[in-house]
């Protein structure tokens, strides 16, 4: 018997077909020092392109450190007033409730979003030029 493990692609493909046919989502096989583990993505992972929360969780799903400044509207997030202008916020910056933290463009209107809280920004959670939905984390602060 060969000491080397020959990864037989045909065998692996057969295993994958077996999984599909029987509707399995996970499969593990250990044999002769060879171990393979296959896992299938759950069927109903809808393509939530806008960082929507996971089904069983409340909107503030992620558990990273710090409190959140959440989006009060649906639109496109911009970190600066214009492409040439410097970003409103840098990490470590202190904000007061009236500090303008970003712009959200909705229906062709550029809305200046205020912090509404006082604290120090620990993370810029949204990406410049990307869509954001209501309640989505824009910044984290402490």
């Amino acid at each position: 018997m060969k000491k080397e493990t020959n990864v037989d692609l045909k065998e692996i493909k057969a295993l994958i077909d077996l999984m599909q046919k029987n509707g399995l989502t996970a499969f593990e096989l250990e044999k002769d020092g060879f171990r393979i583990s296959l896992a299938k993505e759950a069927a109903y992972q809808s393509g939530m392109a806008y960082a929507a929360p996971a089904p069983a969780a409340a909107p503030a799903a992620a558990a990273p450190s710090g409190k959140e400044i959440a989006s009060p509207m649906v639109g496109t997030f911009y970190s600066a007033a214009s492409p040439e202008a410097p970003a409103f916020i840098t990490v470590g910056q202190k904000v007061t409730p009236d500090t303008v933290v970003c712009i959200i463009e909705a229906m062709k209107v550029m809305n200046e979003i205020k912090a509404e809280v006082a604290g120090t920004i620990t993370e810029i959670a949204a990406e410049n030029g990307q869509p954001v939905q209501f309640g989505q984390a824009l910044f984290r602060y402490k």
Partner: protein
């Protein structure tokens, strides 16, 4: 063909629309409030965008957020479902100005038919019978008597600004008319700040019968028969059936033609429903028009073999009505029960909560349109309807037997539902005989030994 559709709604109708999208290869975009994170329409849509907090006024009714969502998702059309913004002419206008196709009629048609008085005028112009009534406001008791004598008793004195059943008085003779005229005015003044009243013929024991219309953008309009929605509690429908047990071929032809005439007169496009009051003598009177898809559309689908929501999307994509819609004929019988999360033994108090066990009936001729599932937490912020149970069978008798069977199998634990009440109605001799009007359910509930109204 529409490529990306945003569904501006929730619950079972959002699911219904997503299903039509999937079958037509249209990408579906759901919007949801924070209370609907675990809702099925969010899970099954291709994309989902949170648009606000739980209250409808902060989410599903927020035109700006819905349009923003459509923009960031690059939607080319919006389906408004029913309720919420479905009959909001301003919303339809905003969609148009943003070059997003509103799945429904034009803003003008929505506006016109949304005003009860204007709709009534349109009906008269189109030759559709309306309840005989005064031409305008009645200022004196002398006028009231003249109008009542002309249209014949019984009559109803109605507040122009009225609602919720207030500012209304039924009068069966001249004495009660004079009394009613004055008290309706007083009540209207107190409740709405406007004492103006008009007079309408009071239709005794009416049947609520509505006609389904479908029209394309090329002027083709057809009706797909009637639905009998007389089983109501406090003006809320809970059971509907197609065809109506009191319909005749002759009456259907007359009412159908009247409906199509009215739709054509207002250049109607897409799906719509015209509601009529029908008395025991077969006289029918225009009541109002709903310029949207209705909750009870499935019973028409079962009997006429048409997918109304798919048709809506196809019409909105500019396609003419298909051959099978233009030639659809009714076949067999269908009944729908609206399953509400309410306690029929406790004045129909809403029963939000988490569904612990959920087993839906199946088998031949049983259809469930529902967003419910075991473990689903029903939010308290929206209407209480959690499912529609629709049966289809060759005869009315068999449809009733099938509905009884299906209701008996339906297991929903963790909340109270109206299923026990609907089972009782399926066993009621008047319902079985097809002899019921809009007063039927209230009478049944008022019988001694029955649950409270």
């Amino acid at each position: 063909m529409i490529k990306r559709l945003l569904i501006a709604n929730r619950g079972e109708i959002a699911l219904r629309i997503i299903r039509a999208c999937k079958e037509l290869g249209i990408r579906s975009i759901a919007v949801y409030s924070e209370a609907d994170v675990q809702s099925l329409h969010v899970q099954l849509a291709d994309e989902a965008i949170c648009i606000g907090a739980a209250p409808s006024s902060q989410s599903y009714l927020k035109i700006d957020r819905i349009i923003s969502a459509a923009e960031i998702a690059d939607a080319d059309a919006i389906h408004p479902g029913y309720g919420f913004l479905a009959e909001n002419a301003h919303f339809a206008e905003v969609c148009a100005s943003c070059k997003i196709k509103f799945v429904g009629p034009s803003p003008e048609a929505i506006r016109l038919m949304g005003d009860k008085n204007m709709a009534r005028q349109q009906a008269i112009k189109a030759g559709v019978p309306v309840t005989p009534g005064s031409d305008g406001i009645i200022e004196t008791e002398g006028e009231a008597l003249r109008v009542a004598r002309k249209i014949g008793f019984p009559v109803m004195v109605k507040a122009v600004a009225g609602g919720g059943g207030r500012g209304m008085r039924v009068a069966h003779n001249e004495v009660t008319l004079v009394k009613g005229f004055h008290s309706a005015r007083t009540e209207a003044d107190k409740a709405f700040g406007n004492p103006a009243v008009y007079i309408e013929k009071f239709v005794q024991n009416p049947h609520h019968i509505e006609f389904q219309l479908i029209a394309d953008s090329q002027g083709n309009v057809v009706h797909l028969g009637e639905r009998d929605c007389s089983v109501q509690r406090r003006n809320q429908k809970i059971i509907e059936e197609c065809p109506s047990p009191i319909m005749t071929d002759k009456l259907r032809k007359k009412m159908g033609e009247a409906s199509v005439a009215l739709a054509k007169a207002v250049n109607y496009e897409n799906a719509g429903t015209i509601e009529f009051l029908v008395d025991d003598d077969g006289n029918f009177y225009f009541m109002e028009m709903n310029t949207r898809i209705q909750v009870e559309h499935p019973i028409t689908e079962e009997v006429y073999g048409v997918d109304l929501v798919k048709q809506q999307l196809q019409i909105a994509s500019g396609q003419p009505l298909s051959h099978h819609v233009l030639n659809a004929v009714p076949r067999h019988h269908s009944i729908e029960c609206r399953i509400n999360a309410e306690d029929p033994d406790n004045n129909f108090c809403p029963s939000p909560g988490t569904i612990s066990l959920y087993y839906a009936p199946g088998g031949r001729g049983v259809r469930i349109d529902s967003h419910a599932y075991a473990g689903y937490p029903i939010p308290p912020n929206y209407d209480s309807m959690i499912a529609k149970l629709i049966v289809h069978a060759s005869t009315r008798e068999q449809a009733i037997a099938r509905m009884r069977r299906a209701l008996g199998e339906y297991m929903i634990s963790g909340i109270k539902t109206t299923i026990p009440l609907q089972l009782e109605i399926m066993k009621n001799k008047d319902f079985i005989a097809g002899k019921y009007d809009t007063g039927f359910l209230e009478r049944m509930l008022a019988e001694p030994g029955k649950p409270k109204k």
